[in-house]
């Protein structure tokens, strides 16, 4: 694609000048959009779940490592007073040997910050949703509403089969089985939908 430049000229008699805009092909390091099939998206979901678990494990390791290093530092500081002269001498002689045999790595600052953020988020989560917080499920709450409301109806689980999972399984189906499902029972998910299915699917305006 060639770069196209579209610009506006000054507009006579109108106070606000029109904005100029350019459309150009830039090389960038953004990813191209993905083209995903049903099988791929299922695999992707599993992959991201595994990734999340891995990240959690890694952060735990990092924390362990941090604690261990701090412990070591304290031990080191205790010893340092007695050994300072020797240590300096050792370092002096060692530095010439170390050339080219060591690597310097910058610890990413974000790692510590994101770890602290996770601790803070975990604090909220445990205070609001942790043990002893007396929570229930949305399913149960809505079922109670159904039972106590003006139009009493059945518990939500009964009315809406495959609660929550319907949408997910829909996405992961192959096109063939999806077609079968839709032809047979598309509107059978809730009693309200059943009623609408009985009416003509076409909508007529008078």
């Amino acid at each position: 694609e060639t770069a196209a430049r579209l610009s506006s000229s000054k507009t006579a008699g109108i106070e606000k000048p029109a904005e100029s805009f350019t459309l150009s092909l830039e090389s960038s390091d953004d990813e191209a959009p993905e083209e995903v099939t049903f099988e791929d998206s299922k695999a992707a979901a599993l992959r991201s779940m595994k990734q999340a678990l891995d990240t959690a494990r890694r952060e735990k390791q990092l924390l362990k490592e941090k604690r261990r290093k701090r412990q070591e530092l304290f031990q080191e500081q205790k010893k340092r007073k007695l050994l300072s002269a020797d240590v300096l001498e050792e370092i002096d002689s060692a530095s010439s040997n170390l050339k080219g045999k060591y690597t310097v790595t910058t610890v990413k600052e974000r790692t510590l910050a994101s770890f602290q953020q996770q601790v803070a988020e975990e604090f909220i989560r445990s205070r609001l949703y942790g043990p002893g917080t007396c929570r229930t499920t949305n399913n149960e709450m809505l079922s109670l509403q159904n039972k106590k409301g003006w139009n009493k109806s059945a518990a939500v689980q009964f009315v809406k089969k495959d609660w929550g999972t319907f949408r997910t399984s829909l996405r992961l189906m192959t096109r063939g089985s999806l077609l079968q499902l839709l032809q047979s029972s598309w509107c059978n998910v809730s009693s309200k939908d059943k009623k609408l299915k009985k009416e003509k699917k076409d909508f007529i305006f008078s």
């Binding site: 805009f21 959009p33 083209e35 994101s114 949408r167 699917k201």
Partner: protein, 631 residues
Amino acid sequence: MGEFKVHRVRFFDYMPSAIRTMAFNSQTERLAVARADGAVEIFNFNDNFFQEKVIPGQDGRATEALCWVGHRLFSAGLNGEITEYDLENLRPQYTVDAYGGPIWTISSNSQGTQLAVGCEDGTVKIFAILEERIQFQRNLNRHKGRIISLCWHPSSAQIAAGMTDMIKIFDAETGHATRRLLVDRAMGASKNKEVVVWSVGYLSDHTIISGDSAGKVQIWNGLTGTLVRTYLVTKWDVLVLSVSKDESSVIAGTSEGTVIQFQFISSTVDQHDKEWVRTRTFRNHSHDVSALAHTDTAVVSGGMDTQLVVRPLLDKVEKNTQESALRKIAFPHRSLVGCAKKAGLLLFQFPDRLELWKLGESEGHVCLMYPYFVCRFLQGEDHICCSALSACGGWLAYSTVSSVRLYRIQYNNTISINKVGTLARACSRQPVHLLCASDDGKWLATANTDCEIHIYNLHKMKLHCMVPVYNSCPTTIAIHPVTNNLISVHADQQIFEFSLVQKEYTQWSRRLQAQGLLSLWLERDTPITHITFNPKNPDHIILHDTYMFCIIDQSLPFPELNAVLWNQMTLKSLPVSQRIGQSHAFKICKSFQHLMCVSLLEDLSLVVVERPLLDIMSQLPAPVRQKKFAT
């Protein structure tokens, strides 16, 4: 009149994000709302609560607190940063790391000269608010635990800070903690659990009000450091407090979903012996209320159920009017669905991705809706602002705070996608929130949050004209493919039609204004977010809000003021010959809810994208378990 096949689409998994915090600016009558995904929304309380601006979120922003300083908006979050927002260009202007770890709370003093933030590391940090930035001044004395909440005394001389098991009063000048208020833990089994002071308020008379995780609202004398009164309002947490400007009323939000009001009133006739008394309880939420704003006339609340609720106080407004009605805002005030009418494609916009779906074909009268998933566009850290799909489905564009991307899509047996380019965002004075082009590619119309609508001639590449400014913000605009008239609908539900060629309102529009819209139309509490047209009947204008879609037939008379607005069922029951007498221009259908988009494909089938609230509720976090009698 018309028979339409309907594609009923319910596979747009739109999930709104929880409301974390909010702040009301009484000068400008704007409410800023921060969501869990980092997005910030601005609602105009002067223009029918229209969601006029949305600043998209960002991965990891984790906003915990918002604060207005004059016209400037600041936020702070668990990422340890303070952000100031550019409300003209709808993006963060800059961020400052506070170097105190995650930030839990932010508040400015009454003069607007200093910002105080409460940090994870136990410090309250003071920043000076300068003209284009903020600058770190100093820390108050460090506390051993995290600072969860804080509030300035109106004199700016003291700061009350809520922590775990206590509240400390700091001298803002010296930084010393002058008083410690010890907060009782919960009774019984939870005695070992620390109590967290989630929110504090500091009044002019040195009264301190606190809300804590043990379910208490406590009133303290800040001068003597003594507890005046305790109210146990819930078994769960009191998550947030808000004090009215005149300090006569305080509201508390709980994990139960209730909002409890306390008022400073006297039990005796002579108005002496005023004390804080619990008055009203509002139950408008199903999940935790974590954000509150107390305006002069209303209680505004939000939380984990993602809905923004405005509850007018009946002693401040006229009863039984539009003004006193409860408002619940559950869906965005802009369209997140794009429809390629010729290609039968749908584009769904999520914060972090776009999904392209192909609608199925129909056989006879049965709509076989086997939609299939075409592809996904993944976005990175910055969330998506807006997106668009061309009618032929061959062009797709979306934008973030920093760039606009354009893609060419070709459909053969496979799909090939080519990125065409990235535009850097041009800076403009007021954010353009609506944009539409005419079908013939000659005209471009834009609308901004100053209620201005500009028309550009794309052939001559210059501004054609500006539509006369109407003082309510446009919520959607569209250009008629045949007449090239611009239809605009506004936040106050008014409709206008403007001829681009003649540069004036059309006769139809003037007649509509003269007749006036029915009150049932004007009292609808969700905005029209999309307009489309009928390729076979140029008299039709199809538009929708969350609860209905409507076909306006420009060839039919307007309803009389005493006419029934929703008359479709009545007309159906009448014999055809009698229908003409009762017919009017507004054909409304309420069979489908909650509507994210209604569009008409080239083959005259209607596409109705629904997102039932029940589907959203099923995926929210866990609510508290309430023990109800006989269940």
